[in-house]
C-alpha cells in the first residue's frame, strides 16, 4: 500500500519557464502539472497509459504523464498544450488545422492529440495518412472517428512545409 512519504523538491522547465515544487515520491507527473502548476489543459482519461489524454512532450519525446512520477521528470524540459501556440499567441499550424478540419468535438482528447501530433511532425515532417494513423495510435478519441484529426494533421504539415493542402476526395 502506498502511503504518504517525505516530500522531495523537483524542478523542471515547463513551456519555457523554470518551475519547482515539493512532491511526494508517488505523485504522478500529470497531477503535478494539473494541480501544482495549474496547467489543466493536460487531461486524464484513464490513468492506465491507454488513452493519451495526458500526453506531454518531455525532452523531445511524447510521454503519457499519467504513468510517470513527477520526481522522474526532475531536470527535464516539458511542453504541454499551453506551450504549443505560436510565440505571438496565435494558433499554431496544428491548432489551426484542428479547427479548420473539424478535428475535435468535446475537446477532451485534443490537448494530448495536438501535443502528440506536434512531436510526430518533428519526427516525420511529411507523413502519409497511414503514418499519421500509426503515429497517433496511442491517443484515443471517442468523438471524431479520427478521420478529421488525420486531415487536421495533414493540413498542419502542408502549412509548415509551405505546400498546398490537398483535401482528400471522399
Amino acid at each position: 500500500m502506498a502511503t504518504q512519504a517525505k516530500k522531495t523538491q523537483v524542478s523542471m522547465k515547463v513551456n519555457g519557464v523554470e518551475v519547482d515544487g515539493l512532491v511526494e515520491p508517488r505523485t504522478l507527473l500529470v497531477h503535478f502539472i494539473r494541480e501544482n502548476l495549474q496547467l489543466t489543459g493536460t487531461h486524464i482519461g484513464c490513468e492506465t497509459t491507454h488513452c493519451g489524454a495526458c500526453t506531454v512532450d518531455i525532452d523531445g519525446l511524447s510521454v503519457k504523464s499519467c504513468t510517470m512520477f513527477a520526481v522522474q521528470a526532475d531536470g527535464s524540459e516539458i511542453t504541454t498544450i499551453e506551450g504549443i501556440a505560436n510565440a505571438d499567441g496565435t494558433l499554431s499550424a496544428l491548432q489551426e488545422g484542428f479547427r479548420q478540419m473539424h478535428g475535435l468535438q468535446c475537446g477532451f482528447c485534443t490537448p494530448g492529440m495536438i501535443t502528440r501530433a506536434h512531436r510526430l511532425l518533428q519526427e516525420n515532417p511529411d507523413p502519409t495518412e497511414e503514418e499519421i494513423r500509426f503515429g497517433i495510435a496511442g491517443n484515443l478519441c471517442r468523438c471524431t472517428g479520427y478521420q478529421n484529426i488525420v486531415r487536421a494533421i495533414q493540413y498542419a504539415a502542408a502549412k509548415i512545409n509551405g505546400t498546398e493542402f490537398q483535401e482528400a476526395a471522399e
Binding site: Q4, H50, T80, T144
Partner: protein
C-alpha cells in the same frame, strides 16, 4: 450603389447562418488547453472524496470499520450508509421509478458497488483512507445470467422489494422481475403468423456495453452554510433536472441550488444518470463545510456508472412467399442489473423500443419486454441513441436479413419491397408512433447507385465460387442497413422525467449595438452548440453568428431545459431557438415599420433587415433596429429587444438513413477488414454540414467498436472481465475504417426549421450494418445468425462451427 455596398451573397455569407460549414467557436479554447472541465475547477479549501467498493457481486455487508481510516493524517470523514440515513439519503430514486443504494445498505449487489466514501485533503490521501477501511463481507450466490433470473430457485437480489408485487410499471411476476411492458395487438399478430407463408424466428442479442466518454463522471459540491446554498459543478447532460431532483430529495429550496455543467468531455448517455458520487460529494460538503470533489477513474466508470444495451430479443417475422411482411413479434429479456436505473422518459420502461417495426410497413406487430434484476451494475442508458432505439434498429435490421436469406431474396430488394412509401407519411405504425416524414426509397436507391450495389453483389458471388474452389480463404460480406430513428423527446403528452415535461427553451437578448447572447436549456458535450445555435439565430434575425454568444449549463442563467441526450437538442431546443428569434423579429418589424413610416405589412425581410416592398433602397438593418429598440422605440412600446421561448414539440422527428459496409474476413484467423463504409443520412434541414459529418464519423466509429468487439463482460461469479481500456475495445486511428458520407434532405413538417437530429443516427444504423456484413459473409456457408460482438476470435469460432476451418 457604390462599390463598397456588399452584395446579397456577401451579406448572406457574413451571417454564417444555417447551411454554412461554420468553424467552431469552441475550438479556440479547446485547441489551446483552455477548456474548463469539472476536474479543472478548483475551489479554496477543496477536499477530495473517493469510494471503497465491493470486490463481490453479491454479498452481505457484515461490518464496516472506519476507525483506522479516520486515523490516516489528512482523512477528514468516512461516510457510510449509516451516515446517509441521518439525512434520509442512503437510497435515492432512479429515473426509472426504482430506488438505488447510494452506499451499501446491508448488502452489495454488484462488483465495484459503492460501500463507503472517504473524504481527505487530496486524492492520494483519500486512497490511503480507502485502503484502511475494513469491510467484512459474507458472500452470497450471485445471479449473473438474465435467462435464469426468474427461475424459481434464483437467489433473491432485492430484499428491499420483498412483498412488493407491483413496481413502477405494473405487476412483478418474480422476486427478480422488474416489469413487463407490452405494446401492439397480440391476437391480430398471432393470427398473421398463423396465416403466413413464411416465418423466421431468431434470438438476437445486443450485448452489454458502455458509453465511456473520454472524460469520466465527476462532481464538485460546495455547501455554503451561512447562505444555506449548494453549488454543484458536474458532468451533467441535463443540469436543470439535477437541480430539481436535488431540491426534491435533499429538501433544499430550488432557488438555493446552483448547478453548473462546465465543458463536458463527451457524454453519449453516460452523464444523464444520477450517481452515488454526486450525492456523496454533496453530503460530504454539507458534513465538512468544505467543497468536495469526486472524480471517477476509468475502471470505476466502466464498472459502475451506466452500462448500455443488454437486450436479448427473440424476434419473429411473418411474410408472404413474395416477401411482403405481414407481422412482427418480439419478446425482449432486458437485463437491468441490480437497480432499474434506466434513463428513459418515465412512462417508457423500455424506452422507444416500439420503434422496432423500423422503416417497414408492418400491418400488425406485438412487442413484450421483461426487465429483470441481476448482480451487475445498474444503468441501461441510451449510448448515443434515442432511448432503446439502437436495440430496436439492430433487432429489425438483423431480422430482415434473416428473412431475406430464408426467402432467397436480396436484402436490399426485400427492404425496397416493404418500405413505408413517401406518400404514406404521416404514417401510423402498428406499435403506436406517427412517423412525421420520410422518403426511404429515394435514400436506398441513392445508396445502391453510389456504391454500385449490383457490382458488389456480383463480386461477392465470384468470391464465393473462388472460396468453394479452394482458391481463397477470404469471404466477403455486404452489410445493408436502413434505419428509422425517433428523436426529440418529447411531446409533454407522453414524455416526462419524474413528472418534468420534456420541453426545451431558449432566451435571446440582443444588445443595443447589435450583438447578443442566447441562453439555452440544453448542454453540449461536444456537439458544438455554441456554434450551431448561433447559426439558427443568424438566419432567423440577420445578426451574424459571430456576434451571438451562446451559453448553456448554468442553471442560474439558462432558462429551464431538459438537457442534451437522445438527439433531442435540435428537434426541441433548436425549435425553441427559432421561435424565440421569431418573437424578436416580430418586434423588430414593428420598429422598422414605425421608422420607415409604412405599415408592417408593407415590409419584407431581406437577409439582415427589413425593406419596404417595391422600394429596395428603403431598408432598416437589424443592427440599427437593436439600437432603436433600446433608445428610441415607437411611442407606447417597451424598450429592449429580447425574447424567451419554451417549446413543447407536437411530435418526435424521424431521421433515417441507408448504410452499406463491405467487409472481407479471413476464415483461418477471423481477422476482418472493413473495405468500404458508406453512410447516407437524412436529418432534414442541415444546420452545419461540417458538424453533421463529424457527428456521423464519430457515431460510426462507436458503432464499429460495439459491433466488432466492445463489451462489458462478466464471468460466472460476477467479476467484470473488461473493466479497463486494456480489455474494453476502443478503436484507435489504425483500426478505425474510413467513412464516406452522403445525404438526402426530407425536412420535418412540424419543426420550425425542418430539422431532425443526427448525432445518434450513425450508431443506430451502424451497428446492424457491421453485424449484417459479418453475417452476410458467413451466410453462404449455412449460418443464419452469429451474435455480436464480432471480434477476430468469435469470427474464427464461427468459421470453425461452420466446418470451414479445422
Amino acid at each position: 450603389m457604390n462599390d463598397m455596398t456588399p452584395t446579397r451573397e456577401q451579406r448572406e455569407a457574413k451571417l454564417e447562418g444555417m447551411g454554412c460549414k461554420r468553424k467552431r467557436v469552441e475550438d479556440i479554447r479547446f485547441t489551446q488547453g483552455r477548456g474548463q472541465y469539472v476536474d479543472d475547477v478548483k475551489l479554496p479549501g477543496m477536499l477530495h472524496g473517493d469510494f471503497v467498493r465491493s470486490p463481490y457481486a453479491h454479498a452481505r455487508v457484515k461490518s464496516i470499520n472506519t476507525e483506522k481510516a479516520l486515523k490516516v493524517p489528512g482523512v477528514l470523514a468516512v461516510i457510510t450508509a449509516e451516515t446517509l440515513k441521518t439525512v434520509n439519503l442512503a437510497w435515492m430514486p432512479t429515473l426509472a421509478g426504482d430506488v438505488q443504494m447510494v452506499l451499501a445498505d446491508g448488502k452489495v449487489l454488484f462488483q465495484n458497488q459503492e460501500v463507503a466514501f472517504v473524504v481527505a485533503t487530496d486524492r492520494y490521501t483519500a486512497d490511503d483512507g480507502i485502503n484502511a477501511v475494513e469491510v467484512e463481507y459474507e458472500q452470497l450466490e450471485p445471479q449473473i445470467d438474465p435467462f435464469t433470473a426468474m427461475d424459481p430457485g434464483a437467489p433473491v437480489l432485492r430484499e428491499d422489494l420483498t412483498g412488493k408485487n407491483t413496481g413502477a410499471h405494473g405487476p412483478r411476476k418474480h422476486h427478480n422481475h422488474i416489469f413487463e411492458w407490452t405494446v401492439g395487438d397480440k391476437d391480430l399478430t398471432d393470427a398473421a403468423f398463423r396465416k403466413a407463408d413464411v416465418t423466421i424466428k431468431e434470438m438476437i442479442s445486443y450485448h452489454r456495453t458502455h458509453p465511456s466518454p473520454l472524460e469520466t463522471c465527476q462532481s464538485l459540491c460546495s455547501f455554503d452554510k451561512i447562505k444555506g446554498e449548494l453549488t454543484i459543478y458536474g458532468t451533467f447532460q441535463a443540469p436543470h433536472v439535477v437541480r430539481t431532483v436535488v431540491a426534491l430529495i435533499a429538501k433544499i429550496p430550488e432557488h438555493k441550488i446552483h448547478v453548473i455543467a462546465p465543458d463536458i468531455g463527451g457524454g453519449f448517455g453516460n452523464k444523464v444518470g444520477v450517481y452515488p458520487g454526486y450525492v456523496c460529494s454533496a453530503v460530504a460538503s454539507i458534513v465538512t463545510g468544505k467543497p468536495v470533489k469526486w472524480v471517477e477513474d476509468r475502471i470505476e466508470n466502466l464498472t459502475s456508472t451506466s452500462f448500455a444495451r443488454d437486450y436479448h430479443m427473440t424476434t419473429e417475422i411473418a411474410a408472404t412467399k413474395e416477401g411482403k411482411v405481414t407481422g412482427l413479434r418480439v419478446h425482449v429479456l432486458a437485463d437491468h442489473g441490480a437497480f432499474d436505473a434506466c434513463a428513459d422518459p418515465s412512462k417508457w420502461p423500455a424506452g422507444f423500443m416500439n420503434i422496432v417495426t423500423g422503416s417497414y410497413d408492418f400491418p400488425v406487430a406485438h412487442l413484450a419486454v421483461d426487465g429483470v434484476y441481476t448482480n451487475k451494475a445498474p444503468g441501461g442508458v441510451a449510448y448515443r441513441c434515442s432511448f432503446r432505439v439502437t436495440e430496436a434498429a439492430y433487432c429489425i435490421e438483423r431480422a430482415m436479413d434473416i428473412l431475406a436469406q430464408k426467402l432467397g431474396m436480396d436484402p436490399a430488394e426485400l427492404r425496397l419491397k416493404n418500405f413505408i412509401k413517401a406518400e404514406q407519411f404521416p404514417y401510423q405504425s402498428a406499435l403506436g408512433w406517427e412517423y412525421d416524414s420520410g422518403d426511404y426509397h429515394t435514400a436506398m436507391k441513392q445508396m445502391m447507385e453510389k456504391v454500385d450495389y449490383a457490382g458488389l453483389r456480383k463480386e461477392q458471388a465470384e468470391k464465393r465460387e473462388a472460396f468453394r474452389r479452394g482458391e481463397t480463404r477470404e469471404i466477403m460480406g455486404l452489410g445493408v442497413s436502413f434505419f428509422t430513428e425517433i428523436v426529440g423527446a418529447g411531446p409533454s403528452k407522453n414524455c416526462d422525467i419524474l413528472g418534468i415535461a420534456m420541453f426545451d427553451s431558449c432566451e435571446i437578448r440582443l444588445h443595443p449595438t447589435g450583438s447578443g447572447v442566447a441562453r439555452v436549456g440544453t448542454k453540449s458535450q461536444g456537439q458544438g452548440h455554441e456554434t450551431t445555435w448561433a447559426q439558427i439565430i443568424a438566419t432567423e434575425i440577420g445578426i451574424p453568428a459571430d456576434d451571438i454568444t451562446v451559453e448553456e449549463g448554468n442553471t442560474d442563467t439558462a432558462p429551464y431545459g431538459l438537457g442534451t441526450y437522445g438527439s433531442r437538442s435540435t428537434p426541441v431546443a433548436g425549435a425553441a431557438i427559432a421561435m424565440a428569434a421569431r418573437k424578436i423579429k416580430a418586434k423588430a418589424q414593428m420598429i422598422a415599420a414605425y421608422k420607415l413610416e409604412v405599415h408592417e405589412d408593407d415590409l419584407e425581410w431581406d437577409i439582415d433587415g427589413f425593406r419596404v416592398k417595391g422600394l429596395p433602397e428603403k431598408v432598416l438593418g437589424m443592427k440599427d433596429i437593436c439600437w432603436i429598440a433600446y433608445n428610441a422605440p415607437p411611442p407606447g412600446m417597451e424598450p429592449g429587444l429580447e425574447a424567451v421561448s419554451y417549446y413543447d414539440p407536437p411530435n418526435m422527428t424521424y431521421p433515417f438513413g441507408a448504410y452499406l459496409c463491405v467487409m472481407d474476413i479471413d476464415v483461418d484467423t477471423g481477422v476482418y477488414k472493413v473495405r468500404r463504409f458508406y453512410a447516407l443520412d437524412d436529418c432534414g434541414t442541415r444546420i452545419n454540414p461540417m458538424i453533421i459529418e463529424g457527428q456521423v464519423h464519430g457515431g460510426l466509429t462507436e458503432a464499429f467498436a460495439i459491433a466488432m468487439g466492445q463489451e462489458i463482460r462478466y464471468d460466472d461469479t460476477g467479476n467484470v472481465m473488461s473493466g479497463s481500456f486494456v480489455d474494453f475495445f476502443i478503436p484507435t486511428a489504425v483500426e478505425t475504417p474510413k467513412w464516406e458520407t452522403d445525404f438526402t434532405v426530407t425536412p420535418s413538417p412540424h419543426h420550425p426549421i425542418g430539422a431532425k437530429g443526427v448525432g445518434e443516427s450513425p450508431n443506430v444504423g451502424g451497428v446492424p450494418c457491421f453485424s449484417n456484413a459479418v453475417n452476410d459473409a458467413f451466410s453462404f456457408l449455412g449460418s443464419t445468425h452469429i451474435q455480436m460482438p464480432h471480434d477476430y476470435w468469435r469470427n474464427w469460432q464461427a468459421a470453425k462451427a461452420l466446418g470451414v476451418v479445422g
